[in-house]
């Protein structure tokens, strides 16, 4: 459904924002495009939605080339860009109806289709209010509804939850899941690890304009390694070496902190917990705590790029205070 071959974008001054990206997204797939700010996510999306011309390589959406057949591409895509660009003077309903008209939806079906989508994103009560009075979360939901007005084959969501409070984020996630269930192909950029992990069938990790890893979240994490058990022993100065010997048959010992902690890489995951605790008990140790730590996409990112995804697991400060309360016009 989405295919790029050697896709590149170079800006004035020799800045290479996207440096030859190859990817293929299957119909009905949710593809998470994960990377830090400035990695080239938005530039890639802007090329795919025909807002920017590639300076190298090519890309097709539903079989149509983004550079030479932009009109055909536009008819098949829905777009919700990074910042919900809405006309604040219009009401939600008016904007939906305008979007429907721009997409050539027959006049008699404009109003019911707009009403259906407004209800679907939970904005029925606010539909007749000007968008200026909407909160950030409501604007994002309206943006999403507008992107869906013509039932696009492919939906592009550029950082749809950046800056949103947890409730609004969850609402948007639910909607993306519903779209996946309905068979819509979704190309989602995000800087949030959890978002990519929760929503994406496959994840592409981009850094400095290059795709550094691609696969299902599970496969990517498996590449980094198996989960490990972090074991905390009770008592003053337990013999860590003896404890290590006791648990060694169950996995690969990866770290022992003198005094209290043993870290054991295990292939079986949660199934290894009971035998490990039993073995420690039989060896005379009391386990104070045991935690199964699985690799995260951040570990994958760190493995592939040599650095961590900045602030990936921390919502931006404004997200904490963002609410559904109306914003003054």
């Amino acid at each position: 459904m989405i295919e790029t071959v050697g896709l590149q974008r170079e800006f004035g001054g020799g800045l290479k924002a996207v440096q030859g990206i190859d990817l293929a997204v299957a119909p009905g797939e949710v593809y998470g495009f994960l990377g830090p700010n400035g990695a080239g996510k938005t530039t890639t999306v802007r090329m795919l939605v025909t807002l920017l011309r590639p300076t190298g390589g090519h890309a097709t959406i539903a079989g149509f080339d983004v550079a030479s057949q932009p009109g055909e591409v536009r008819r098949r895509i829905g777009v919700a860009l990074q910042e919900a660009a809405l006309d604040l003077l219009m009401t939600g309903r008016e904007l939906m109806e305008l979007q429907a008209t721009l997409h050539g939806i027959p006049r008699r079906t404009v109003a019911p289709r707009a009403a259906e989508l407004i209800e679907r994103v939970g904005l029925s009560q606010a539909a007749e209010r000007r968008v200026a009075t909407y909160s950030g979360g409501m604007r994002r939901r309206l943006d999403l509804a507008m992107a869906l007005i013509h039932e696009p084959e492919v939906l592009f969501l550029d950082e749809p939850t950046t800056g949103l409070d947890p409730t609004s984020r969850t609402t948007l996630w639910d909607e993306v899941r519903r779209l996946r269930d309905e068979g819509t192909t979704v190309f989602l950029t995000t800087q949030y690890l959890e978002e990519a992990d929760q929503l994406a069938d496959r994840v592409g990790i981009i850094d400095h304009g290059q795709l550094v890893a691609e696969g299902t979240p599970a496969a990517l994490k498996a590449e980094v390694g198996s989960p490990h058990l972090d074991i905390t022993l009770l008592g003053e100065g337990p013999d860590a070496e003896a404890a290590s010997r006791a648990v060694a048959p169950f996995g690969h010992l990866c770290a022992t902190t003198p005094g209290a902690h043993v870290s054991l890489r295990v292939a079986d995951g949660a199934a290894a917990i009971a035998p490990v605790v039993r073995a420690l008990d039989e060896a005379g140790f009391t386990v104070e705590g045991i935690e199964l730590v699985r690799p995260t996409l951040d570990d994958v990112f760190a493995e592939k790029t040599g650095h961590r995804l900045e602030g990936a697991e921390v919502a931006p400060p404004e997200a904490e205070s963002e609410s559904e309360a109306p914003v003054p016009a």
Binding site: T50, R53, I77
Partner: protein
Amino acid sequence: MSTVTSIAIPSLALARRTLRGALRRPQFLAPLVIMPTLFLAINTGGLHRTTDLPGFPHVDGFLDFQLAGAITQSLLLGGVMQGIATALEIEGGFFDRLVASPIPRVSIVLGRILAGTVIAAAQIVWFLALGMIFGVSIHGGVPGILLVLAIGSLAGTGFAALGVLIALRARNASTVQGIFPLVFVILFVSSAFFPLALLQAPANWVAEYNPLSYVADGMRDPIIGSISVTPVLEGFAAAALLVAGFVGLAVLALRGRLRAA
């Protein structure tokens, strides 16, 4: 769907949206008429004796003469407003939404320009009503009023296109605001505020080739006297020239901008 329909439907939808927005933002609309109205009041009060000057056309009063100048000034301000609004849309990202939608590119420009035409007509109605309230009698009668509306609306369309053109080139509202005062210099070297015959060189040379002179004189003729063919036709021609030139350049500027993206 024919090409005309595929252009007309989104253009009209975007024009309607622009008009709704303008009505909901009176602080944008009010300066279009308030400033020229004040200018008209000051000029009428201070320069009314100039009608006695040799070479000044025969008029009932200075207000009769100035009305067309005030309308032209107001229409130019309408162009400023359309330019700023377009630039704000570019800055805010709404423009990208339009570009990413499957509508003919020309509709993005035409939508705003058509809204400019409607607003221009409303501005003209304001000044004609104001003039009549303060004693101006439109010598051309109802046909004269319709001619003023037609020439003025056409010119307003051209000025809206000029605003869009400048916004597409400048890409931000502050630059548009900075550039547009230069346009007013052109108004002052036209016959909008003073008869061509009374302007001195080099202003009269510039005014003679300035399309704004012909737009203002074309609207003035039905106000101050019986309708004469030459100034009215020249007014239409000048306004049509503005429309053709600036709409064409605005469409080219949009294409250039999209090609350069």
